[in-house]
Symmetry: C2
Subunit: 110 residues, 2 copies
Amino acid sequence: MGRNQTNLVQGTLDLLILKAIGDGEFHGLGIGRRVEQITRGTFKVRPGSLFPALHRMEEAGWLASFWGDSENHRRARYYRRTREGERQLGVETEQWTTISRAIASALKAN
Amino acid sequence: MGRNQTNLVQGTLDLLILKAIGDGEFHGLGIGRRVEQITRGTFKVRPGSLFPALHRMEEAGWLASFWGDSENHRRARYYRRTREGERQLGVETEQWTTISRAIASALKAN
DNA sequence: ATCCTCCTATCGAATGACGATAGGAGCATA
DNA sequence: TATGCTCCTATCGTCATTCGATAGGAGGAT
């Protein structure tokens, strides 16, 4: 793939973040760690991708945030999914299913 | 996904083209049609994506081309996979497998 | 002649992931 | 008190890629 300097597939980060947060509340780096966990270590989200994505998604209304204290007593911005975000998770999950089926079908072709 | 104006997932077009060509020879628009076929109509590759991709891939050494005549008696540039291209198809297929497994795993998470 | 279709081509805009870099604040150690 | 480490957020510039729009030539039918 053209993914020369991008361990992620462009467009899937939002989906992974929405899924990683689930019904909980996590701060930025914590979300990054969770994405890595649920993808079994395959995707490591760098700060340069993570924070812009979180801001973008809050802007879009999919996340809500507040300042709090981290496990390590640092000031951290916590995120949770909004109802819009849950809806979006559904949309993107469905899109991903369609896409991955289509590509699986292509790879099976004669 | 952020794919607001992109029916493709960024980075998968090369894989689909390499697979669509197979061991045959096709001209640009023909490759586009074949991508649509093997993905069961899910991905429609636009000329604005298709031709730059073909040029890029030839530049990379994955495709070789020559001028010929189309089924409809038009001047058309035909492409075939090079040995490098076949190797690349293997690489990208493997990458895709890893990625789609990782995301499937993420989507299954609690 | 005119029009439609086929085929290639390129340009500018938009998107999104990344590396690099910055800075503040908690905590431990000396 | 100073040094240094880790944690946390943030932004900037770069790069790659997809797309819409647009262009133009040439075959074939009417």
